[in-house]
C-alpha cells in the first residue's frame, strides 16, 4: 500500500511537468493552430537558462525561476514574430518542419553553449515529509501543488478575463476577431510567448527535481507532452491536464514495475483513446 501511494505521488509530480509543457503546447495549438515541435526545447532552455541565471545572480533559485522563463518567452516571441508567422498559410507539413528546424537549432545551440555533457546543479531542496511511513520529497509535493495552480490560473485567465475572451475569440475565428479590431498577429505572438513561458517554467522547476541537465531533456518530454495533448484532445486544456495526470501515473507504474515498457503503456493508451475518440478525449469534432 505504501509503495502504491508513493508511486502514485511520484507519478503525479512527474505528470505535472508534462502538464506544464503540454499546457503551453495546447494553448499554442488551440489559438494559433500550430503544433510546436520546439516546445520541448523551451522546457530544456528554461532549465538551462534558470541554471545559468542562478549561477550568475547568486544561489537564489526562486529568482532564477522568475527570470529564466521570461528569457525563454522572449525567444519564443522572436521565433513566432520572425519565422512562424510566415508559414500559417502553408500546408501542415511546412509548419511542423519549421518548428522541427527550431528543435535542431535550439538543441544544438544548447550543446554549443553549455556543452554536450550533462550538468548537475547543486542540490538545494532536500527536505522530505513522511507519507505512510516512508520519506517523500517536499519539493515533489510542491510540484504537485503547482500543477493545479497553473491550471486554475489558466482557466481564470481564459474564461474570466477580458484578455482571455479576446484570445478565445481569435482562436475560434481569426478573421472575425480581426474585423472587430483585435490585432491578431500581435496577439498570436504574445500567446506563443506565453506558451513558451509555460514550457520554460516547467523546465526551470524541473531543475531541482530531475537533478540533471542534459541536451536531450527536451526530446524526451516533447513526446510525452504530445501524447498528453493528443489524448486530451488537441486544443483542450482540461483534456491535457487530465491526460497528464493519467500518463504521469502510468509512467510511474511503468518505471517501477515494467521498466522496459513504460513508454509502451502511454502509447497503447494513446492508440486506444484515438480508436475510441479519433479527436482525443475532449478534442473538437471534425
Amino acid at each position: 500500500m505504501q509503495s502504491l501511494v508513493h508511486v502514485v505521488l511520484a507519478g503525479l509530480s512527474s505528470g505535472m511537468f508534462i502538464w506544464l509543457v503540454a499546457s503551453g503546447l495546447t494553448l499554442i495549438f488551440g489559438v494559433l493552430g500550430v503544433l510546436n515541435f520546439a516546445h520541448g526545447s523551451f522546457y530544456m532552455l528554461g532549465a538551462y537558462v534558470c541554471f545559468s541565471v542562478a549561477r550568475l545572480l547568486g544561489p537564489h533559485f526562486w529568482l532564477a525561476v522568475l527570470v529564466g522563463p521570461l528569457v525563454v518567452a522572449a525567444i519564443g516571441y522572436a521565433m513566432e514574430h520572425r519565422f512562424l508567422r510566415r508559414v500559417y498559410q502553408l500546408a501542415l507539413p511546412y509548419q511542423l518542419l519549421l518548428t522541427f528546424a527550431f528543435v535542431l537549432i535550439f538543441d544544438n545551440l544548447v550543446k554549443l553553449i553549455w556543452g554536450a555533457g550533462s550538468i548537475s546543479p547543486p542540490p538545494g531542496f532536500s527536505g522530505s515529509i513522511l507519507v505512510l511511513g516512508r520519506k517523500f520529497p517536499l519539493y515533489s509535493l510542491f510540484i504537485i501543488a503547482v500543477g493545479p495552480l497553473v491550471a486554475l490560473g489558466l482557466w481564470t485567465l481564459l474564461d474570466l478575463t477580458w484578455v482571455g475572451r479576446t484570445v478565445r475569440a481569435a482562436a475560434s475565428d481569426r478573421e472575425m476577431a480581426s474585423a472587430l479590431g483585435v490585432r491578431v498577429p500581435a496577439l498570436f505572438s504574445r500567446v506563443f510567448a506565453f506558451g513558451a513561458w509555460l514550457g520554460a517554467l516547467g523546465g526551470a522547476l524541473a531543475v531541482p527535481y530531475v537533478g540533471l541537465l542534459t541536451p536531450g531533456m527536451g526530446e524526451s518530454i516533447i513526446i510525452e507532452a504530445f501524447m498528453v495533448a493528443v489524448i486530451g484532445g488537441l486544443g483542450s486544456l482540461k483534456g491535457a491536464f487530465l491526460a497528464a495526470l493519467v500518463i504521469g501515473i502510468l509512467s510511474a507504474f511503468g518505471t517501477r514495475y515494467f521498466p522496459a515498457f513504460d513508454m509502451a503503456l502511454a502509447f497503447v493508451l494513446m492508440a486506444a483513446v484515438l480508436l475510441w475518440r479519433p479527436r482525443g478525449l475532449f478534442g473538437a469534432a471534425a
Binding site: L35, F83, R86, V87, L90, L92, P93, Y94, L96, L97, L98, F100, A101, F102, V103, L104, I105, D107, N108, L109, K111, L112, E219, I223, F226, M227, V230, L234, P259, A260, F261, M263, A264, A266, F267, M270, A271, L274, L275, P278, R279, G280
Partner: protein, 319 residues
C-alpha cells in the same frame, strides 16, 4: 524539358553512377552507396508524403525493422544478402501493416503524432531488448555473405562489389517508385492528397489506399535499412529515433516533393552538405536546422521543383 531529354537524363545518371567505383576512391564509393541508400528511403517515403500528402514522423521504425530483420537473419540463419533483404522488406511491410492500420484512421496532425509516438516506441523497445537487439550497442558483426545467384557466388566484400549490388537494387526501387507514380493508383493517391473527401466521393476507398501506400513506403524503408546493415555491418537503435525519421522528410523537401528526381537530388545534396559541414564543425545538425529554415522560407519547392519552375517560365514567356 523535351521528351528526348526526359528519357536520356535517367540513362545518363545511371551511366554516371556506374562509373563512380572506377575512379578508385574508396571513400567516394562509400558515400555514393550512402546516397543511394538514402535515395531508396526517400523515394519510397515521398510516395507517402509528396504523392499522398501524409506526413509520417515514424518511418525510422520501418528502416530499423529492415535493418534488424536482415541483421538477425544474417547472424542466426543465413548470410545470403538477397534472402536477408527479402526478410528486411517483409519485416518492415508487416510492421507497417499493423501500425498503419491504427494510424490511417486518423488524419493530419493526429496521424503525424501517432507515427511519431510509434517510432519512438520502437526505439525504446529496441533499446531495451538487449538480449535480442544488443541494446544501445546495436547489432554488430553482420557479414556480407556471398551473393549466390544462378549458380554463381558473387563476393560483396569489397566496397566496389557491394556498390554494384546496391546500384542494381537502387535502380529497381526507383523504377518501381516511378511506375507507381505514373500509374492509375498514383493518380488516385494524388487525388487523395488534393482532396480526400472528394476522392471518397469519386469512389476511392481512401483509408484502404492510404494503408497500401503506407506499407509500400515502409517496404522501401526496410530495403534501405537492410542495405545499410550490409554496408556498415551493424544496426543501431538510433535508426528508429525521430531525428532519423526526419531525414527522408528533409531530403524530400530539399529536393522537391512533387517529382521523382526530387528525393534523389535531395539525397545527394544532403550527404554532400553533411560531409562538407562536418569538416568545419561538429554541429552539423545546427547547420541543418538553419538550412531547413532557409528552404521553407525561400525555396519551398526544393531544388528540383525550383528548377522546373524556372524552366517552365523560360519555355512559355507569354503565359
Amino acid at each position: 524539358m523535351t521528351r528526348a531529354l526526359r528519357l536520356a537524363a535517367p540513362l545518363l545518371v545511371l551511366a554516371a553512377l556506374c562509373a563512380v567505383p572506377l575512379a578508385g576512391e574508396r571513400f567516394l564509393t562509400y558515400l555514393a552507396i550512402r546516397v543511394m541508400i538514402l535515395g531508396v528511403f526517400a523515394s519510397g517515403y515521398n510516395l507517402l508524403l509528396g504523392q499522398t500528402g501524409l506526413l509520417s514522423f515514424g518511418h525510422g521504425a520501418f528502416y530499423a525493422a529492415g535493418a534488424y530483420g536482415l541483421g538477425l537473419f544474417s547472424l542466426h540463419v543465413s548470410a545470403h544478402p538477397l534472402l536477408g533483404l527479402a526478410v528486411a522488406v517483409a519485416a518492415a511491410a508487416l510492421l507497417a501493416l499493423f501500425v498503419g492500420f491504427l494510424c490511417v484512421r486518423s488524419s493530419e496532425v493526429y496521424f503525424s503524432m501517432l507515427t511519431l509516438a510509434f517510432g519512438m516506441l520502437a526505439f525504446a523497445v529496441i533499446w531495451n531488448a538487449r538480449e535480442v537487439t544488443g541494446g544501445d550497442d546495436g547489432l554488430v558483426g553482420v557479414v556480407r555473405g556471398k551473393l549466390s545467384l544462378l549458380g554463381l557466388a558473387l563476393p560483396l566484400g569489397k566496397e566496389s562489389q557491394l556498390y554494384y549490388f546496391v546500384l542494381a537494387l537502387f535502380a529497381l526501387a526507383v523504377w518501381v517508385a516511378h511506375r507507381i507514380r505514373s500509374s492509375p493508383f498514383g493518380l488516385v493517391l494524388a487525388g487523395m492528397r488534393e482532396n480526400a473527401v472528394r476522392a471518397a466521393f469519386a469512389g476511392v476507398p481512401v483509408r484502404r489506399y492510404r494503408l497500401a501506400v503506407f506499407v509500400v513506403s515502409a517496404a522501401f524503408a526496410g530495403l534501405a535499412g537492410g542495405l545499410e546493415v550490409l554496408l556498415e555491418g551493424s544496426a543501431r537503435p538510433f535508426m528508429s529515433h525521430w531525428t532519423h525519421s526526419a531525414e527522408p522528410i528533409l531530403v524530400s523537401l530539399l529536393g522537391g516533393l512533387g517529382s521523382l528526381a526530387g528525393p534523389l537530388a535531395g539525397s545527394l545534396l544532403f550527404v554532400a552538405l553533411r560531409e562538407i559541414v562536418q569538416r568545419f564543425t561538429e554541429h552539423w545538425m545546427l547547420a541543418f536546422g538553419v538550412i531547413l529554415l532557409l528552404i521553407i522560407g525561400l525555396a519551398r519547392e526544393g531544388v528540383v521543383g525550383t528548377l522546373e519552375q524556372l524552366l517552365a517560365r523560360r519555355g512559355a514567356p507569354e503565359a
